[in-house]
């Protein structure tokens, strides 16, 4: 039996999307009252929750304190029930530390940390359900949570994955597509300035194809930024209606 056909001749993917189409994105901001900022996002079946505390004084060892900017502390985790197979996920395993590090790098590039010297910003993200593109869902959720917390940023950070199948770049891969072989590229973009906050790819890809893939991922990120922008405006409207009275 042959493996799954990721892209049909008619140009439809496994779940019926076309090559450049994103999954359905739904998001909410301010889901927790106790935190300084929080957000929940669904990208297809990938669901992530992000919570932001700070800026506040540096906790723990004082040595980490930066005199010219804020320290960003990220913690990534996956719920035990987030994948098809139930699995205990201990804190600080290699995969999640790596992901935490990536998130930290991403947001250090986006948050105006120099406004808060000698302080710390905590970002906690949890994957509630995983169906491909965990990193991008985390970045998008964290962006919304940071906006909710009112922490100034250069721009939204929008992240999206892109894969490469049969010489066609596919945007926003689901789990089946990610595991179906081929290359996956994750890109975090500051859409307005088109600066790249982070790009990651860990499979082989010929150089000639890289530009095409990056362009597809960037296009997907720009699409996402519109959605996120809509969510933020919607949220602001709701909040302002509440506070007007």
């Amino acid at each position: 039996m042959a493996g799954v056909e990721l892209l049909s001749d008619q140009g439809y993917r496994l779940d019926g999307r076309k090559a450049s189409e994103l999954r359905k994105v739904q998001a909410r901001m301010g889901v927790f009252a106790q935190a300084d900022g929080s957000a929940y996002i669904e990208q297809g079946n990938t669901k992530a929750l992000a919570v932001v505390y700070g800026p506040h004084e540096v906790r723990g060892s004082r040595s980490r304190t930066m005199h010219d900017r804020a320290v960003i502390n990220c913690q990534y985790s996956m719920a035990t029930f987030s994948t098809a197979e139930r699995k205990r996920r201990p804190h600080g395993d290699r995969k999640s530390s790596e992901m935490s590090l990536h998130l930290k790098q991403t947001f250090e590039a986006a948050v105006l940390t120099q406004l808060y010297p000698r302080s710390q910003i905590d970002i906690y993200v949890k994957i509630l359900q995983s169906d491909g593109g965990n990193y991008s869902a985390c970045v998008n959720a964290a962006t919304l949570a940071l906006v909710d917390a009112g922490i100034p940023m250069r721009d939204y950070v929008c992240a999206c994955t892109a894969g490469f199948v049969e010489d066609t770049p596919l945007a926003d891969l689901c789990h089946a597509e990610e595991s179906g072989g081929g290359t996956t590229l994750a890109l975090a973009l500051l859409p307005r300035s088109r600066h790249i906050a982070l790009v990651q790819m860990d499979a082989r890809l010929h150089q000639d194809h890289l530009d095409m893939l990056m362009e597809a991922a960037a296009e997907a990120c720009r699409g996402l930024s519109k959605v996120l922008d809509g969510v933020v405006r919607q949220h602001l409207q709701e909040v302002s209606v509440l506070t007007r009275d």
Partner: protein, 954 residues
């Protein structure tokens, strides 16, 4: 644009994993019809006046076949008459799941613009997607999906303003499905009904595959096979180890015996023997089957009996007789522990590997009968029962037939007629058959391919000269067999001022013309190799390249890829240089011409001097190579002298080898090895190399036995030991013995294969005793060389790389194809030689020749005739004659016929004639004439009086 609704589809795979997938439904999937105004399809596929004239459907209509119709009746759907067909995604997915070759064929049909096949993505369409209901099986759900889609189409099309009476017609063979479809108001027919109703195309009916309904009527025979196990049970059995999975290989010589190659973990693989009709259980050559091992006491040894299924009629009386004979043969030999092989029986088929088979019709004895037996050309394929009304026209023709199924109560599989190739025995037809049977792509190159050829008149440009070394001043010449037009190598040799020699091998620069990825390149990659048949060449690249622009002909400027060494007088390499170049060959010689120049001391021109230098170095190189343990093997090769008018063979001779042959070969080997080292150094992950694995010691058993019968010992510990002991193996007064032994040794060897260096760790070339090897020197006729050229060009910065070249998985896939094509090309070549041998003997009558026994079988000996390089079987059992007393000794091996023992290498005389009693398998018949055994040997043919006279005198 995207209006999507999220659906959740649950599937279970393997254990109890729940997989949740999104399923988007869209409303921008168009119906693909020209009449529709609602859909915004820019290039509709389905025509407005979709007319296939039919008695049943007098209105224009689109066809919607269901999955089974596509799988079973693909031959019908491929017919140019059938157009305007809607293939639903549900159907396409099911086909993909169930049969890869048919999936490929239906996809080809969809891509064919003339056919107007449209794929409707119904699973993602908002109105045609359905969910599986409680208690509904997956199949039922798919059937319902097909009906819903058909219903949607009929309603959708009726809304179109100028649709007229355009309708959709559902084709299904499933009774239940048909009823339900009729109930919902669809027009639905069985495939047979529909095809039979077609006007002006009666022959299409013959192509109808028989479906299960009909099979019951046909078979009244008693042979009942055991039921095949369902796939789930097979899988469970394989997992628990009670069954083994493997590829089924029918025995060419004995239709009641087969081997199943079981692929174990890693490289380990075992063979399981299967004997007897019931144990074979309807498996066909190349199927993937599940076998169950029999208990050890039922194990048998492979029979050495040659048994051909040549019963002339449908009945089974003779079958039983034949089977009895086998059993007798089996029983007669008490089981010897050492020769017993694991024996099993086929319990189920995991994957059928049926393709259309070439062969001939065996007419039924009853005149008006429409059911006939078809005998495939490949003896490993069983005969096939087909139904046709054109039997009388098909008589004596080569036809193609596809198998549809093999019900358990039928002695033969059922099939249907595909097409006719031409009359049998005709050289053109027979060549076509052997090309088809060996899967050699031989159609003319398509326009798309030809469009990538350089425009004529072509000449070398200034830019070419700028980037290439100009070697036009060198005395380069080529040495090839006579009549060669695709010259891909040329040589030169000159003395340098420091006393060293400069030797250059110049190879046609094919990769300059064939750019990666275009249609020309893809076609060449798929063909893999040029196939040389007798008097015919099937080119890998179009003739303009192979015989003109790339061919290094004399006195024209050509682009080349050169490998230039500086060597001292002892043939030790001092430096190696690779460069793209421009050369101007001064002479294209044949081997004989070159040899004459070297030998003729009066000639002292540059070309001759160059040849002498090359020859001297080649001898040193060869000596060094043999010192290292390179094998010199032998296989009888023949050349035909072909009549220039009729293209019939008029004479036959074995190929002669001259010093110059080995001179050219030596430098080609050297170039290949140098290039292999270079590309491996540069690209350790993706170099395309060639290896020749050392054979397992058991392969040599026959060789050792044969040599020990003459009191000689063959050492097989290493290639070197083998080469030495082969050199020492001489028998007084029997000069041909050594050649015979080398022929045997050749058959013990493994196949040399291409591989990608990143996928393998063993690079050894056993036969050439080289640690690394590749093919660089024949890019006109081998695709592997083109890849090697590209790699080398990148390595010396002469060309740019491209993605697929660096992808080791794609390279490995390419290697697999090349290996397959090379193997098939070799078989096709052999078959072509056999065909021409037959044509040759057809015109000669009966000949009497001397030969040697190559193998001894239980009821036959296999004789090699050195004069013609011809191998044939002498049977000692005849249907119409009582068998002589035979006794077979496994150890010798020796066959004793009426007190006369036959050993391997015995000299015998045989008469050779062409047996055309069976026009399908015309064969060379050999009969023993000396030693004279009463009742067995035949007398000398009367056409040769010289041979007969001395006998009378005695």
């Amino acid at each position: 644009m995207l209006k999507s609704k999220t659906f959740v589809k649950k599937t279970r795979s393997g254990g109890v994993m729940k997989i949740v997938r999104e399923h988007y439904l869209r409303d921008d999937i168009w119906c693909g019809s020209e009449v529709c105004v609602e859909c915004k399809d820019e290039t509709p596929v389905l025509q407005k006046d979709a007319c296939i004239e039919s008695n049943l459907c007098t209105f224009p209509h689109y066809l919607i076949p269901d999955t089974n119709v596509v799988i079973q009746q693909i031959d019908i759907l491929e017919d140019p008459l059938i157009r305007n067909v809607i293939i639903l995604q549900t159907v396409l997915q099911e086909v993909r799941h169930r049969s890869a070759p048919i999936y490929k064929r239906i996809k080809d049909a969809i891509h064919d613009k003339e056919k107007h096949f449209y794929t409707f993505t119904n699973e993602h369409h908002r109105e045609t997607f359905i969910e599986r209901e409680q208690g509904e099986s997956a199949n039922d759900r798919n059937d319902r999906a097909i009906r819903v889609a058909a219903k949607w189409y009929s309603e959708h099309l009726s809304k179109a303003p100028d649709a007229g009476d355009l309708k959709v017609v559902l084709l299904t063979n499933d009774r239940d499905n048909k009823e339900k479809a009729e109930k919902s108001g669809l027009i639905v027919y069985k495939c047979e009904e529909y095809v039979k109703s077609l006007i002006a195309n009666p022959e299409l009916v013959d192509r109808l595959a028989l479906t299960s309904d009909e099979q019951n009527e046909i078979t009244g025979s008693r042979v009942v096979f055991p039921e095949h196990l369902p796939l789930s049970k097979i899988q469970a059995g394989i997992k628990s180890g009670t069954f083994l999975q493997g590829t089924f290989h029918a025995n060419r010589d004995n239709y009641l015996e087969a081997k199943v190659y079981v692929h174990g973990e890693g490289d380990e693989s075992t063979e399981v023997l299967v004997q007897g009709l019931l144990n074979l259980n309807r498996a066909v050559h190349q199927d993937v089957v599940a076998v169950e091992l029999l208990p050890r006491e039922n194990w048998v040894a492979p029979s050495s009996v040659v048994l051909i299924d040549d019963a002339q009629n449908d009945e089974d009386a003779e079958e039983e007789e034949a089977e009895k004979k086998v059993r007798k043969a089996l029983d007669s030999k008490p089981a010897q522990g050492s020769t017993l092989k694991p024996t099993g029986r086929v319990v189920g088929i995991i994957k059928r590997n049926w393709r259309p088979f070439c062969g001939m019709l065996l007419q039924s004895h009853i005149k008006e009968s429409t059911r006939h037996l078809f005998t495939p050309a490949d003896r490993r394929i069983p005969r096939i029962r087909i139904e046709t009304r054109q039997a009388s026209t098909l008589e004596g023709q080569r036809i193609m037939v596809a198998i549809d199924g093999w019900p358990k109560n039928s002695r033969y599989p059922n099939g249907h007629f595909v097409k006719s190739l031409g009359s049998a025995g005709d050289k053109e037809t027979e060549t076509e058959v052997l090309l088809l049977e060996h899967d050699v792509p031989h159609l003319p190159f398509s326009q798309a391919v030809l469009s990538f050829l350089p425009k004529m008149p072509w000449s070398i440009t200034e830019e070419d000269l700028k980037v290439r070394a100009d070697l036009r001043h060198l005395t380069v010449c080529s040495v090839d067999p006579p009549g060669c037009t695709d010259i891909d190598d040329a040589l030169h040799c000159r003395e340098l001022e420091n006393g060293n020699l400069e030797v250059g091998v110049h190879i046609a620069d094919v990769s300059h013309f064939i750019r990666p990825g275009n249609a020309l390149d893809q076609e060449a990659a798929s063909r893999g190799t040029t196939v040389y048949l007798c008097g015919k060449r099937i080119d890998m690249v179009p003739e303009l390249l192979s015989s003109n622009l790339c061919s290094l002909r004399s006195n024209v400027e050509r682009l080349a890829f050169s490998c230039i060494w500086e060597m001292n007088q002892n043939a030790e390499i001092i430096s190696t240089r690779f460069t793209k170049s421009v050369i101007n060959s001064k002479a294209s010689l044949t081997y004989a011409e070159a040899q004459m120049r070297i030998d003729d001391t009066s000639m002292n021109d540059d070309i001759t001097k160059s040849l002498r230098g090359l020859n001297k170095l080649a001898k040193i190189l060869k000596g060094r190579r043999i010192e290292k343990g390179a094998l010199t093997l032998s296989s009888p090769e023949v050349r035909f002298h072909i009549d220039s008018e009729t293209h019939d063979p008029i004479d036959l001779q074995t190929k002669e080898l001259m010093e110059t042959n080995s001179m050219v070969e030596e430098f080609m080997l050297l170039a290949n090895i140098s290039v292999a080292q270079k590309i491996y150094e540069e690209f350790s992950e993706c170099a395309l190399l060639r290896k020749h694995p050392a054979p397992p010691p058991s392969n040599y058993d026959i060789l050792i036995k044969a040599a020990s019968s003459k009191g000689l010992v063959i050492y097989i510990d290493s290639a070197k030991a083998l080469a030495d002991s082969l050199n020492d193996a001489q028998v007084e007064g029997f000069p041909y013995f050594n050649t015979l032994l080398r022929i045997l040794a050749t058959r013990c060897m493994m196949q040399a294969v291409y591989f990608c260096s990143g996928m393998d760790s063993d690079f050894q070339h056993y036969g050439l005793a080289s640690p690394i090897y590749t093919h660089f020197t024949s890019p006109i006729r081998r695709y592997s060389d083109i890849i090697v050229h590209r790699l080398l060009a990148v390595a010396i910065n002469a060309d740019s790389t491209y993605p697929d070249l660096m992808d080791k998985h794609k390279q490995a896939a390419l290697c697999n194809n090349l290996n397959y094509r090379h193997k098939m090309a070799q078989y096709a070549q052999r078959a072509s030689v056999a065909l021409h041998t037959q044509l040759f003997f057809k015109n000669r009558g009966i000949l009497n020749e001397e030969g040697f026994i190559l193998f001894v079988r239980k009821n036959a000996i296999i004789v090699l005739i050195p004069k013609f390089g011809l191998e044939g079987t002498v049977f000692f059992e005849n249907k119409d004659k009582p068998s002589p007393r035979l006794s077979f000794d496994e150890e010798g091996p020796t066959l004793t016929v009426e007190d006369h023992p036959f050993h391997m290498f015995d000299k015998v005389k045989v008469t050779i004639s062409l047996d055309s009693s069976n026009i399908q398998h015309q064969k060379i018949r050999m009969a023993l004439s000396e030693p004279v055994i009463p009742g067995v040997s035949v007398s000398m043919p009367e056409t040769e009086p010289e041979a007969k006279k001395p006998k009378l005198d005695r």
